[in-house]
Symmetry: C2
Subunit: 157 residues, 2 copies
Amino acid sequence: MKIKLIAIGKTQGDWLINGIGDYKNRLKHYTNYECIEIPDIKNRANLTVDKLKEMEQVEIEKYLDKDSFIIALDENGKEYTSENFSNYIEKKMTFETKSIIFIIGGAFGISKAILERCNDKIALSKMTFSHQMVRLVFTEQLYRAFTILKNEKYHHK
Amino acid sequence: MKIKLIAIGKTQGDWLINGIGDYKNRLKHYTNYECIEIPDIKNRANLTVDKLKEMEQVEIEKYLDKDSFIIALDENGKEYTSENFSNYIEKKMTFETKSIIFIIGGAFGISKAILERCNDKIALSKMTFSHQMVRLVFTEQLYRAFTILKNEKYHHK
């Protein structure tokens, strides 16, 4: 089974790179996980938000395939507890797909067309996290999900 | 106005210390913010969870005073959007108190007695974050709250 995260822009700041790297390393023991960082669109300060999202959309679409189950990480998505998120991942992987793609949009979110193409939308919180911070929170939750599935000590309830 | 965060145990891992430090520095421009890390209880591996929470409670209580508005950061608390959390902080500070204390429990959460003493409970997410990660997510949200109040560019809606 394969899980891919697609994010817009390089992860910025050593602490964020190291934190994400920490959970990414731990994830290796559980699944084939890959994080793709699409380079920021050039001259984006001169673009309208809609134009920027449209250009980001073109780049994201290059990584989408019809065999994967595609999930947008989006504030308006459904919220899960960590246990339910863990069950969700397990069910998808067991019965529905061999590959899940999660998408984190740019600073202004994900284009409408991509949102419509996604099979599901999940929110990590009602609160807005920066598109950089979402990567860290998501990677930790994915790691937590696998430790819950394996009944390991990391997650306390 | 004064905002204090009380957490159990030293923050562990350079990336987490640096990330929290980053938002703490930014917060200086907006409010008097302090983070108190209560040392981990010794020999805690040999204690029952209830006993550990009770001992943590004694340490936390040393920092509580009756003039502060005390908020537990707890999974079972109320969820806010970042905008609503920002309004919440503003209202509390304008009309109700000069000092807010937020509490993050230890690895097993906050004791019942402390939860009952708190004036309110807020959840950063339905998902479980480690008590270490909560510090980072909280500090970023508090910083975000002030940038929203000041109508600054950090928060995109």
